[in-house]
Assembly symmetry: C2
Homo-oligomer: 274 residues x 2
């Protein structure tokens, strides 16, 4: 039985998005894309059945750009996945940690391992991408240089992992969303994601949140985002427990419509459990 | 009269943080630092009188890492500044746009100018930093390559701006915070920033926000952030109109203390007006 679905992701083979795909899907083929726009287009055109995008990181915050793409396209969120970002120190096979003189990786990854690298007493050099740094190392043939990237990147380029989880802050998680052209039919514990705009008048947000509180609907995320061109309007991202098809949630969203300038449901999907 | 204060910022000369410094301060010397940690340490140690850090970007979101540093250190927010991020296409003097075959910059900057670059029909190559890409270009001597960075980076390296504001989305703003060892004494229209944690029980956030709504205190930012290690606790970032020293705000924060596990005032400061 051939049952592999095609999943679009942004980045090179070995990117953390690809690693998330291997955790989230059962049987798939991960299809690299140059940009997040290309991920959305691949799913919208039917070239890929699914797309996987990062939406927030525990250290770096929400990725507004991907929220913008969710609003611009008609795709549905059908799932979520939480990836613990574990940076690995990667070298040619047989090289010892004490032989390493220089470490290359993407600036954010180098920053997240700054304490570890300081103790090693090595020079660092920023390059544009984590998986890309392993590719560069492989091509260079340098045995006294190491790269920082995912476990998967080491495997793809047949390199050695000297040490795993070298990040200073162990609380480094990225949340990914699975996208589809058609809405999901989630079962079990369900979460929903919506976006809405409010006029910036005192108490507007309080009224908007009352539609959930008055119905004992629990929120798992709330975030305001000023719309820079429109200094008196705000965009809000809200995730709540429950499916939009349920009576209580439906009534809450109807009620929200009385205050909001715009309400958009992005999708209802099973809550991620590790 | 010599009245220049020393201001710590993260990045190389020509970085957008430095540009923000020239907009925010009247007379200062901008002192580059390797990391955001180093910016905080420079201010805490007294090596610099002030520090300037980015806290959120209209496309990329809040920078949680800098909120973490605000919580770890005892510095005070004494001001804010909103920088419109304008990317420039930069080359050697005398080069025409039609002669450019290759463009280098930081991946995020290349992504934000993707439409413009596609129309130009050029190859792109990611490097680790925007200001750094101009430095690299200058050193390479290549006349058919251009870099993307701030206006200031072009000036510092005595290079030519072929075109200004080449970003696809004109709504690209970064909000910066000015930090000091001592609290400010703000006048005029004032904003305050606080951080608090709540137990994840239904209605907790609604109660927390009621302390502001019941006193007609207007919020300008709210953001929840799950604490990954503690899956039932949330951190909230809230900005509100008013100074924490005022009676109404003081009462609201007292009231908030009844629900919150922790409340920390980061500072009261004048609202930025362009």
């Amino acid at each position: 039985m051939e049952d592999k679905i095609k999943v679009a992701f942004q980045g090179e083979p070995g990117a953390y998005s690809e690693e998330a795909g291997y955790g989230y899907y059962d049987a798939m083929e991960m299809v690299p894309q140059e940009s997040f726009e290309a991920v959305f287009e691949a799913v919208a055109s039917g070239a890929c059945e699914s797309g996987l995008i990062p939406i927030e990181n525990s250290l770096a915050g929400s990725i507004h750009h991907n929220y913008d793409l969710l609003l611009r396209h008609e795709l549905h969120i059908v799932g979520e996945y939480l990836l613990r970002v574990r940076h690995c120190l990667i070298s040619f096979p047989g090289v010892k940690q004490s032989e390493i003189k220089r470490v290359i990786s993407q600036p954010q990854a180098l920053g997240q391992c700054a304490g570890f690298l300081r103790e090693m007493g090595v020079k660092t050099e920023p390059v544009y991408d984590t998986a890309g740094s392993v590719k560069m190392l492989k091509n260079s043939g340098e045995r006294t240089t190491a790269a920082i990237a995912s476990k998967r990147a080491a495997k793809i380029y047949e390199m050695q992992i000297i040490k795993e989880s070298i990040e200073d802050n162990q609380e480094n998680y990225t949340r990914f969303l699975a996208l589809s052209k058609t809405p999901g039919t989630p079962e079990g514990e369900i979460k929903s994601s919506i976006v809405f705009t409010l006029k910036n008048i005192p108490g507007a947000l309080f009224k908007a949140l009352s539609v959930f509180a008055l119905r004992d609907i629990d929120l798992t995320k709330i975030e305001s985002r000023p719309l820079p061109g429109k200094s008196w309007e705000y965009l809000f991202y809200v995730d709540f427990i429950g499916a939009v098809g349920e009576e209580t949630a439906r009534r809450a969203l109807d009620h929200l419509g009385e205050y909001a300038l715009m309400v958009r449901v992005l999708g209802s999907y099973p809550i991620f459990r590790s």
